[in-house]
């Protein structure tokens, strides 16, 4: 729903643009809702409804309305201020999006749960804000709770982030206590947006979404000049020109206004049909009076995790292509290209920012299309330096050339920061060494908590490291990582042969020293997932022609219904129908039926 209101451009001195950064579950959404409530943007009733639904809302928000900006108004010392709150996603996969949001702001509220203390994501996001030269307004949340320990947590903030205790505010998203003081601190401490209203238009595209009726809705932060309806604009990097059809702000519903001025945050539409034409990070300028230079923009995030996506029925290939195309409209960080697998037929190799991103995409596909899909195990992008001196990116184990052509095999390395209770340091050390981790340093936040830094191969962390961390630390440990680059390692492609046939979708790239253990674990898992057949199935794991592990699935011996008379046929019918439906989810490899779960066997490590 779009609202329309009379509008006067705000003086940049009365504008504050800020984000809230926090670790997941530290109460960011509830605090944001309090901001809306205190400034009258939502009613008490809406506030309660949202709070009650916070579980669902949180989940939906994480997926669908992340980075939705909100414009609110607050009167302080006789002046009416316009505050633009730009939301940020909390998960590590989307940390590049945090930087996108931060580029639209001058300040950030750093929110820390006073019952849980500083967490890995707190540190990572605080550093991102510092790197972006933002003014940080630190606040301790949940101070109304009896288990709150504000002094201790303030000590952690001092030792890790260098934040002085007297700068730290205290608030409760639940009761609203301290929220007014926080809003006032945002106004007092965060500088107003710079920029010259009389310069040619310069606006940063920091996000977009696709609307069926309006085309691409482009989210912008005005750096210089202004943008209004009817204006001819140019996207400086994309090179395309459009006429602005609508300009507005989110308050929180999209609200049409006549013009957005310097320092303001809002959106515009211009019948842009293709989301790829409105690149995030691009600069919008006036077509007739263009700016001389575009804004710095941001680095385009590179997908780090890849997996194959195949329709179980090969006839659904085009339908899958269409579904992926629709997804791509709203998610430029998701990439895909067609590929062919001997075992699985025609499908797509898809690239994701991380495992959560992969999960979100998979859920959307399942929700929005009626396709039965097989997803292969995720892998990271490797690099190979071949004998000819060329560097090749390997996003699929099938692309690994013969050993004779490989000069150097390289894998992506990440630096991981773990924040854990001191008593779990030993377990964590073991866990990281098992995954070929290189210890960097330990840093104590307090007597009971420490930061451990390791360099680990990305391949060793993408799948289950987070779960393992949670289990080792009984839920108290958190982690965050950043990509460092590629390093050479003794890597090999491990193939799986099912009934003497290599299943390309089950191939995986691993470190040579782990080949036997991984091979055994994979085959054991496959044995559990593949139903017995009418013949014995041989399972083998091999490097080249050398078999490193083997298993057998015994043939089915007896499986026959004793009675099949009149009434039994009716009963059997339903079973047959169910079996036929179940088979739709199976993928035939030779004469062997592989369920979706089998393709994830590659991930088994022990």
């Amino acid at each position: 729903m779009t609202r329309r209101t009379a509008f006067a451009m705000t003086d940049p001195k009365l504008i504050r643009n800020f984000s809230i950064v926090a670790h997941i579950d530290h109460g960011k959404s509830t605090l944001a809702d309090q901001f809306l409530l205190k400034t009258g943007a939502i009613s008490e009733r809406d506030f309660r409804a949202q709070t009650l639904d916070s579980m669902d809302l949180e989940r939906e928000r994480g997926i669908t309305i992340r980075m939705h900006p909100v414009t609110i108004y607050y009167t302080y010392k006789g002046q009416k201020y316009e505050l633009n709150l730009v939301d940020t996603p909390g998960h590590v996969d989307f940390s590049y999006e945090v930087s996108r949001s931060l580029a639209a702001c001058e300040g950030a509220v750093l929110l820390v749960d006073s019952t849980q203390g500083v967490q890995a994501q707190t540190v990572a996001n605080a550093y991102l804000a510092i790197e972006n030269d933002l003014t940080i307004v630190p606040v301790l949340n949940k101070v109304d709770m009896t288990i709150s320990r504000p002094d201790e947590v303030a000590g952690e903030m001092k030792s890790v982030l260098g934040i002085e205790p007297h700068e730290i505010l205290k608030a409760s998203g639940k009761t609203g206590a301290g929220v007014d003081e926080l809003i006032q601190a945002v106004i007092d401490r965060i500088p107003p947006p710079p920029g010259d209203p009389n310069s040619p238009l310069k606006a940063l595209i920091y996000n977009s979404h696709f609307d069926t009726y309006k085309g691409v809705v482009v989210y912008v932060r005005l750096m210089e000049g202004s943008i209004r309806k009817g204006q001819r604009i140019r996207l400086m990097r994309g090179g395309t020109e459009h006429e602005v059809l609508e300009v507005g702000q989110f308050r929180p519903a999209p609200t049409v206004c006549d013009e957005l001025g310097t320092g303001q945050v809002g959106y515009f539409t211009a019948q842009i049909k293709n989301i790829a034409d409105a690149n995030i990070g691009d600069t919008v300028t006036d077509a007739h009076h263009p700016a001389a230079e575009p804004l710095a923009g941001y680095k385009v995030p590179k997908p780090m995790v890849f997996s194959g996506l195949y329709p179980t029925n090969n006839n659904d290939f085009e339908a899958l292509r269409e579904a992926l195309g629709k997804l791509k409209l709203n998610d430029s960080s998701f990439v895909y290209q067609p590929e062919v697998s001997e075992g699985l037929g025609f499908g797509f190799r898809c690239g994701f920012l991380g495992m959560l991103h992969r999960e979100v995409i998979q859920q959307r596909l399942e929700r929005d299309s009626d396709l039965d899909l097989v997803q292969t195990a995720p892998n990271v992008t490797y690099e190979i330096l071949n004998r000819k001196g060329e560097t090749i990116a390997i996003d699929n184990p099938q692309k690994v050339p013969d050993a004779g052509q490989i000069e150097e095999f390289r894998e992506p390395i990440v630096r991981v920061n773990f924040l854990v209770p001191s008593e779990n340091i030993g377990d964590l050390m073991t866990m990281c060494h098992d995954r070929r981790g290189v210890f960097v340093r330990t840093e104590y936040l307090s007597q009971t908590r420490a930061i451990l830094v390791f360099e680990l191969p990305l391949a060793e962390i993408i799948y289950d490291l987070y779960d393992k961390l949670k289990s080792v630390t009984h839920g108290y440990g958190t982690m965050d990582y950043e990509v460092l680059g590629y390093r050479a390692a003794d890597l090999v492609r491990l193939d799986v042969l099912v009934h003497h046939k290599r299943v390309d979708a089950l191939s995986t790239i691993i470190h040579r020293s782990t080949a036997e253990r991984r091979g055994r674990a994979m085959l054991k898992k496959l044995r559990e997932e593949i139903d017995r057949h009418l013949f014995e199935i041989a399972l083998q794991a091999a490097i080249g022609s050398r078999v490193v592990a083997r298993e057998n699935i015994a043939a089915m011996k007896k499986n026959v219904t004793a009675k099949c008379y009149g009434g039994d046929i009716t009963r059997k019918r339903k079973l047959w129908a169910k079996q036929a439906a179940g088979k739709k989810r199976m993928k035939m490899v030779g004469q062997v039926e592989l369920p979706q779960e089998a393709f994830l066997a590659v991930l088994e490590t022990e």
Partner: protein, 373 residues
């Protein structure tokens, strides 16, 4: 083709649900302790027969249960009389009834013979008191021979049912059961692998761990023993669980395995008329009150073809390609594209005229069918 046997029934099944007690493996539509309602049941049965509108001549008529022989003479006679009116027998028809050794009397046998019953299927299950105890089956094994002796004077075809795979059963026990059945001089034997149907007493005992089922290997050995023993005694293994001397196959049951049409009358009875599958209610009180219908399903031609393939494969003769196409309107190879692969795996034999289960295929018939569907 309006009177094609897969559309217009030439067979009828009539269900008599009364039993003296419920056996441990039984999940049929039966009632125990309702003998005082037999007359009302026969009233309801007659009411259902009225829905046939006119007498329907049949080539096979089968009275099953339950325990039809549990009916006292008066009720049994009424049943036989009524059925004669609604399902008159064609010449050379097969007329079967199920009976328990302990409920069959000389007078009842006379009555059956008088009304043209020419086949009796005896629920013997085992000659071994231990197995009978596990199955919660009350009869004394010696009554089986007595019953067969009484029947053999007036009933030309006698069949007995045996169950294998009973917990605790050994190959020796089972061989003994088979030999004793063969010694009776009967012409038909059904051997059923014990199944643990949900909700039955045996199922509950197995679930709670009080009863340990045989291993798959042991079950297979017992099944192979039956096939070996009975075929050696000149019995033809003509369906997964059925063996007969030449010419003594159950014609009525072959209707089911051809996927032909049949009438079904009585509590929980299933029928297949004009391509529609229907099942009566299993609620005894509802049936007495005349609320019979429970579910009805009209099959699509492709579903019918799939189903026909599945049931016909249970027969030793398997599927005749030409007949199959005539019956279903579909080519077998189009309905079952994976047929050739299963022939390669040795579970099916294809003579181009017919496709049937190999010896090894019979042990895993359900899995073979599943692969074909």
């Amino acid at each position: 083709m309006t009177d094609a046997p897969w559309l217009v029934p030439q067979a009828a099944y009539v269900h008599i649900p009364f039993c003296a007690h419920r056996c441990g493996y039984c999940d049929f539509a039966i009632v125990v302790g309702k003998d005082h309602l037999m007359v009302r049941y026969l009233d309801a049965l007659e009411a259902e027969l009225e829905t046939l509108i006119q007498p329907r001549p049949v080539q096979t008529l089968f009275i099953g249960g339950g325990t039809p022989s549990h009916l006292p003479e008066a009720q049994l006679e009424r049943l036989l009389r009524v059925l004669k009116r609604w399902f008159p027998l064609e010449s050379d028809a097969e007329y079967s009834i199920e009976a328990n050794p302990e409920s069959l009397t000389a007078d009842k046998i006379v009555l059956l013979a008088q009304h043209g019953v020419n086949r009796v299927s005896l629920g013997a299950q085992s000659f071994d008191p231990r197995s009978l105890a596990v199955l919660q089956r009350s009869h004394d094994p010696t009554t089986i021979a007595t019953a067969v002796k009484c029947l053999s004077g007036s009933i030309s075809q006698i069949s007995i049912d045996l169950i294998f795979g009973v917990p605790g059963q050994t190959v020796a026990h089972w061989t003994d059961d088979l030999d004793r059945a063969l010694n009776l001089g009967i012409s038909h034997i059904s051997t059923y692998g014990l199944t643990y149907e949900k909700g039955t007493s045996l199922w509950k005992q197995r679930r709670s761990g009080r009863l340990i089922p045989l291993t798959e290997d042991d079950e297979l050995t017992l099944y192979q023993t039956a096939i070996e023993r009975l075929t050696k005694a000149s019995f033809t293994h003509y369906e997964i669980s059925n063996f007969a001397l030449e010419g003594r196959q159950s014609r009525h049951n072959q209707i089911y395995w051809a996927n032909y049409a049949y009438y079904g009358i009585g509590l929980g009875a299933a029928r297949y008329v004009g391509g529609v599958r229907e099942v009566n209610t299993r609620d005894f009180d509802a049936y007495l009150a005349g609320r019979r219908s429970w579910q009805s399903e009209k099959l699509s031609p492709l579903d019918r073809a799939r189903e026909t393939m599945a049931v016909q494969l249970r027969r030793a003769e398997g599927i005749h390609r030409v007949f199959y196409r005539r019956q279903t309107g579909h080519d077998l190879d189009a309905v079952a594209p994976r047929l050739a692969a299963l022939v390669d795996q040795g579970v099916l034999i294809d003579t181009s005229e017919r496709v049937f289960l190999s010896a090894n295929g019979k042990y895993v018939a359900d899995a073979v069918i599943e692969k074909l569907l």
